[in-house]
């Protein structure tokens, strides 16, 4: 469902010149699977997911989603994914229902299907009471629910979540994770980025540890623990990152400090 091959992305930056945000990243995700991208802030997770959502164009490499290349067929890719991140806010001047309905129409869903689908989604996510509430009057948790509803309104086969729980309290975060688990049960292909170990251990079938634009290692949680002989995921994560930083210093690769 998702195939990413040698994806690279570099930016021009006023202070630092050319910055490589992503360097030859490759992975693939199957339907019914949750793939976790684990990395500290600024590791390149968001850049990678933005390329997959066609918002950014890769400098080199290829990403194919649901059979469509992100560079050659961006419209088809967008029609087949649901994307949610900290940057995909909701409109202040629309109610929950209007917002989700509007996006449903953008995806070209016919009206009767859309209305029944909206009823289902609002029931499953328990959003009935915020149905006619304006975006500006919602709490963070409510907004997150609307975002999830917006993400799945067109029933896409591929779902991309970029740090969906960041900034949420425990209750809401739990609800979001449950929603993701529910979607996995429906056979969706899900990619999920986070910097929280517990979420990975709990949710993900496979994980990739990403740091400074490179994937350091990937596999199931058990595989990783066995390979590095470290039963604690958190320790394993730090170990990988420190080792990579040391290699960079030793190798004298002139990448500027922390992003």
């Amino acid at each position: 469902m998702i195939e990413v091959n040698d994806l690279s992305k570099s930016f021009e930056d006023l202070k630092r010149g050319s910055v490589t945000a992503l360097e030859r990243v490759s992975f693939d995700v199957q339907p019914g699977e949750i793939f976790g991208l684990l990395g500290p802030n600024g590791a390149g997770k968001t850049t990678c997911l933005r390329i997959m959502s066609t918002v950014l164009k890769p400098t080199s490499g290829r990403a194919v989603i649901a059979g469509y290349d992100v560079v050659d067929h961006p419209e088809e890719v967008r029609a087949n994914i649901g994307f949610m991140s900290g940057n995909t806010g909701i409109y202040d001047r629309m109610t929950a229902w209007e917002m989700v309905e509007y996006y449903g129409r953008l995806y070209g869903i016919d009206e009767p299907t859309l209305q029944s689908r909206l009823d289902d989604i609002f029931a499953v996510l328990q959003m009935e009471e915020i149905r006619d509430l304006l975006g500006s009057k919602m709490s963070t948790g409510m907004k997150q629910k609307v975002s999830i509803a917006r993400t799945i309104v067109h029933d896409p086969p591929v779902l991309i979540f970029d740090e969906p729980t960041s900034g949420l309290d425990v209750l809401v975060a739990r609800a979001v994770l449950q929603a993701i688990e529910y979607l996995k049960g429906q056979g969706k292909c899900i990619i999920f980025s986070t910097h929280i170990m517990r979420e990975v251990e709990k949710l993900c079938d496979r994980v990739a540890v990403i740091h400074k634009g490179r994937i350091l290692d990937s596999g199931t949680v058990e595989e990783l623990e066995a390979r590095h002989n470290q039963p604690d995921m958190e320790e394993l994560f730090f170990e990988l990152i420190h080792r990579h930083d040391h290699e960079l210093v030793a190798g004298g690769v002139g990448i500027a400090e922390g992003v």
Binding site: F11, L14, R50, V55, L56, K57, I90
Partner: protein, 781 residues
Amino acid sequence: MVAVLPLLLYPALGLGMLQMTLLFQEQTRTVVILGADDLPAPPLVDGDRFHAAYFEFPGDVDKLHVVTDATSTEDATDIDLGQDESDSEVVNVADQLRDQVHDLVRLQREADESREAGDAVELEVLEGRITALKGEVSEAMSIAAIEVLILVPEGLKQHIAEINEQLAESGQDLSDIDPPRLQIVRNSANEKSLMAYRRVREAVENWEDRLLQDRLASAHLPESFPDPVNPDQIDIARDQQIAANVWSKLFPAMLIVMAVTGAFYPAVDLGAGEKERGTMETLLISPATRTEIVIGKFLTVLLFSMGTALLNLASMGFTGKYMLSIAGAGQMSKLGDVALPPFTSMLWVVLLAIPLAALFSSLSLGLAMFARSSKEGQYYLTPLLMVTMGITVFCLSPGVEITPFYSVMPIMGPALLLKAMLLAGAEASSLYWYSIPVLLTSIGYCALGLWWAIEQFQREDILFRESEQFDLNLWIKHLLRDKEATPSFTEAGICFGMIMLLQLVAMRFMGGATAGLMEDQMPVRMMQLLMVQQLAIIATPALMMGVMLTTSFRQTFRMYWPSLKFLGVAAVLAPVLHPLTVELSQFLGQHFFPQLPESAQRAIAPMLDSNQPWWLVLLAFSIAPGICEELAFRGFILSGFSQRGRTGLAIVMSSVLFGAMHMFPQQVFNAALLGLVLGLLAVRSNSLLPGILFHIMYNGIEVMRNRIDPGFWTTAPMDWLVTVEAVGESTQVRYDWPLLAICGFIATGLITWLLRQSAKIREDRVKGKMSPSRLPGASPA
């Protein structure tokens, strides 16, 4: 940014103003004098002009064309027979008007009498007849294009001569009397003093009148004595026309200002506001394409802009009318009954609001996309508003009216057309033709603006611009550190900005350097200055920036040997294109562009002056610009624009800028056209040399064209190719149709060949990836 803005804004506005003054030329108006033979002695009219002595500014004389029915001046004006015929036509029309004007005066007198007598019924009848008569007269005058009509009563000359005679007989000689003068002290720089002075002057003048009357009475002289002619002013404006005049000034101005503001705030909200609220990415991941998103936003902004403009106009119209109706006898009542314009005019307001609003909507949207936040977006309103206001003020100045040239300019076209439509009211049939170019070009400008907005929306660096502090120091460091082989798009733009700025600065020096010179030294100094200007202002900035900001000087300035065929094409294209462009710009100059002002003609004059040594003229007008301008425009600027790989767009943009540098409208057009060919040559040959060769040859031909003995052209083998025309004192060579046809044929062939060349080279480049040595005509960088 806010601080930097004014530093850039005003020089840019200054340059704009300069171009405007070059474009603007007041039209000559027609004045008809009937009974001119009866005008008394010091001559009022001199040929077909008023006597120059009566004008404060000598140039004003030519703004009025005087047509008289005088018998004595006929032999003086019959040089131009065609002119004379249309003049006598005008006199005939005016002759027929004479009786109507006399009727009008009589009716007005009767109306005044019945008003005093309080006869309301009679008054109404008379006023109806006056309005009808005024309508007839003003229509006849506007059809014959008579702006002012002067009727000289029969026997005026004789009458004045008699009075003068009587005075000379009866009076003693008092001409030496010079009484002590009253002195009034005021400060014209002080607003308060100025206002007080105006009142004082009024009182003193009236008091002086009384004094004069007393004096005249004591000398037994008539009251009309100090005003021997004392003309009666007859205003044929009807109430509706006065209203039209008010609306024609207010409506275009309000429409433009409201369309800008109405477009800008929603645009900022939909562009930068979306980034700020964090919904931009939500929108980007929707299945809509980016073009669809921008067009959707554009239509929204357009709706707001139109709505704002039209609602404001409607409200202003009705409120204004109401205020005037309750103002009663106050000062404003002098404006008359300000009736709203007729329905057809209102339709035009709505119709012309569309292209104006569309242009502003697309521009504001582009700016709003660029801004990081709504705050930053709002800073951009100032320059947009300033430029628009400048153009609006220009359009509203009296004397500026729609011409073919203005009709294709952005904002000006719709504004001037609207002004003319409102003035003409129902009699606007001749203006309908203008609506075609105005609407077509407006759609074009709007499409360009929209295309720019879409471009902005597709750039990652603009969509995801982080709010970092703009630091000039950091930016310059970045430019110097992260150099590339060829300059960037921005650097090319800055290079052009520097060239224009230096030109503005240099103008002062040019004026100063030629000020104190004798007539015969002028041309030589002018040419020296031209060469210095070429070197210092055009070539130097480009070369400096090339050295400082790029890693490959050679690649930036295309310092490669071209293959010979490109040099050949350039050498043939120059003489072949010269006749075509010269005739085209001649044609457009006569029918389309305004005339060049005097100062510009003086700068070009040495080129036509056959007394200067030919090598100096060639150096100044052909070799220096050929090399310098090519280095800047086909070197640095074209390389910069094409860095992103869009060569076609880069050629068009560089030639537009190349045109803009030439300032004079005719040259702007010509240079922009030739810029396309030059750009094509440079890109296809990947060398600057064919362009330089073309440029030098083209300018060289232009210089030599008028220096070759006219006899050479008129003898047997050449006489069917060109015609020699007399222009003032010198002669001018004009090309004939057979030659133009041949040239057109060859030029089309060569340019097609150049265009085709592209596909071949690109294919070779793709192959060349494997073996770069096989690249034809281009050495490896």
